[in-house]
Symmetry: C2
């Protein structure tokens, strides 16, 4: 019996595992992930801004894969080392695992461009832990501003700086504007949350650079209307507990969020000969890591050159299509049938800005405003994994849409102990 | 304008604040709590066992109190000192606050009977942070058992010890039995979660000592049927990372939960002359702290002697009735009207054991089994604060009732940073 090991339970890894479970015969399939849950990352910003609970956008990998008793082996552990010659993985718990075919789908993490010390003052948004940390910081800033008697302190507490004007930065800025202008405004007696300053800092000349100039302008206008200041062509040079330095400019802010860049999973470095300049693994037309016949890589960590689009971007549809395709190629390989080149079916892209406004792009067509927002809603609900989760998220959204309420406004700390 | 300060946003404090907001004229009402949220503690065990999300049982104190724009001042901070002579409170942020009338409603915390060092190995269940920590430990134990190759290690990972056979201990034991026998059993391929050992350790001669012997027997039988071993008359002498010592007996367990005792809030020690032997504040018939005319204490931290029941127990109905009554007495006091003695209207008590089984007692009547469970359900839904929360919890329960699913099976860590 051949052993297929998938590392990573994100969009790509799960799609591959499901396809393999359905179509492969006489194979042992294992999925390894450091977390016990699959995370619907496109909605993580909603957890960070108290719109959804962690459990609304995450499902245990085990229960996703075992609905039809597929007998997929799921292990919650880090992968420390890959020995391609011996065809084995070493896990952090010391165990090793041998494979006949390896599929890497480990995604990416945020990058501080050589300044990891900024993380403490400007959390990134890639995990549930980070999302609840950001939520804690945002809500606590309002609480502290409410009890502060010092005008300057209050001002820096009510200044939110978001670094990076990609979809995550735009979504965060829009959501913070919304909660401060609508949700929180009734709850505070001494401060006026609508005086909140929200600054979106982007190094490039415009936000949402992956979209057309027209959509980028739409997003800019919508955000500004909601009270977000957009500082484009502005490069961050330092971040401290006081705020953000941009050359000789300085913005005092107690809450800085990092949405400015990603880097592929460090596991890529196990294959030094296949790395591109950003640290991703170059893969061939069949999604195999350059130089290896039985190791596939997909999603954010893979550098795949599409003849029309160029290098495919780090989007969920890319990862899912590649996952399914890699699974089919693995089955073909084990059956000694010819492999099939991967062809990306462009699903477009979208970013939401706020209540009833978004931008989207699909094969040359562009939308902005309410229509794009409803499209965004339908697609995200559709893709949310698991029946229960869909219904719950839909209900939460209904309630926040109609009542301007945010259901998950909890400040919870890291420390659970009360003694010493 | 007279200033009324309420310390604590639990059942008692909120009931008092609402009554004061509705009925007092020309007063400034302030509520101080270390947390930003009111917690529906009777359902905290459901968060610890992955049935509900933190946001399902918690609401921001601000939004509970400001629905009718009562202009109640809410501050999120610890109270460090009370100066009864000067009529001021000192907050941890250094600010001080003066009051004309003070209402203490700070509740209780768990107690390790002089062994705070046990907390690390046996978390208690009083806060959301503790509930998610317990959830993490329970779910991680199953994950680790799945990847362990050592039979002994697996056994100690699949042994859950709950110390304390009161309602919390019983509810936790029942819920762990349920998730291991039903929810998780399909998800694991290498271990059989239904081999889980769940041991409920009680120092007294029977569990649920506050209930009648008959109901206690019912609960024992139901729990045993679900696979819980009940070790009564067993005193814990030490807890370590290896397990629980009970005299010369020793139970190897990686997951120990503490549900064995509570102590009143440390703020009671500010009034050394009013303490009872358990550290609670003795209050008079009007709920005023012994020796003070303008300081009231209610709920778990108050020692109130009822002529028929004795010292009132730490239950939500007691706290809520006392909160409303203290508010009315405060209003009477400020209007120089006579105060009215507090009279407890017994609402009975209940404890749930598992799916469709519970025990309850009300004015001499006793129920057990499904009827008690449905009663429990109706009452808990009814008392859950806030419209949204009720609907969501009801839906989550429907879904876990019909599908044996647990929606919040997330293992999240304490650390959000990924660098250094």
């Amino acid at each position: 019996m051949k052993s297929i090991v998938i590392v990573g339970g994100g969009f790509g890894g799960l799609a591959a595992a499901k396809t393999l479970a359905k179509k492969s015969r006489n194979t042992k399939i294992s999925v390894i992930d450091a977390k016990n849950h699959h995370l619907f990352q496109p909605l993580l910003y909603q957890v960070a801004t108290a719109g959804l609970s962690p459990a609304d956008i995450a499902v245990p990998i085990r229960s996703v894969l075992n609905t039809k008793s597929n007998a997929i082996d799921v292990t919650m552990e880090y992968v420390d080392k890959i020995d391609a010659k011996a065809q084995t993985l070493t896990l952090r718990n010391g165990q090793s695992l041998s494979y006949d075919v390896l599929l890497l789908a480990c995604g990416s993490t945020h990058s501080y461009f050589g300044h990891p010390e900024w993380e403490e003052f400007a959390p990134g948004l890639k995990t549930l832990e980070q999302a609840t940390e950001i939520r804690r910081r945002i809500l606590e800033a309002f609480e502290k501003a409410e009890s502060s008697k010092d005008e300057n302190e209050r001002r820096e507490l009510l200044t939110f700086a978001i670094v990076g004007g990609g979809p995550t930065g735009v979504e965060l800025a829009g959501a913070i504007a919304e909660i401060s202008r609508k949700t929180l405004s009734k709850d505070f007696t001494r401060i006026d949350p609508s005086n909140t300053r929200i600054v979106l800092i982007e190094a490039g000349s415009r936000i949402l650079a992956a979209f057309s100039e027209k959509l980028s302008k739409h997003a800019t206008r919508d955000l500004e209307r909601m009270g977000v200041s957009i500082w484009s062509s502005t490069r961050v040079t330092n971040i401290s507990d006081k705020g953000v330095h941009m050359g000789d400019e300085f913005l005092r802010s107690k809450t800085v969020i990092w949405a400015a860049g990603v880097q592929p999973s460090p596991i890529c470095r196990q294959f030094p000969n296949a790395l591109d300049s950003l640290g991703r693994l170059k893969v061939d037309n069949f999604l195999r890591v350059q130089g290896y016949v039985n190791i596939f890589a997909i999603g954010d960590m893979a550098h795949f050159l599409d003849s029309t689009i160029g290098i495919l971007p780090g989007l969920a549809p890319v990862a899912m299509q590649q996952g399914r395709h890699a699974a089919r190629n693995i089955i073909a390989m084990l059956a000694q049938n010819p492999l099939i080149p991967f062809q990306y079916n462009d699903k477009g892209k979208m970013a939401t800005i706020g209540r009833r406004t978004a931008v989207s792009e699909f094969r040359g067509f562009e939308w902005s405003g309410p229509l794009a927002w409803y499209g965004w809603l339908v697609i995200h609900i559709y893709y949310l994994i698991g029946f229960r989760t869909k219904i719950f998220v839909l209900l939460q959204w209904f309630s926040s849409y109609f009542f301007f309420k945010r259901g998950a406004r909890l400040i919870t700390g890291k420390e659970w102990k009360i003694f010493s």
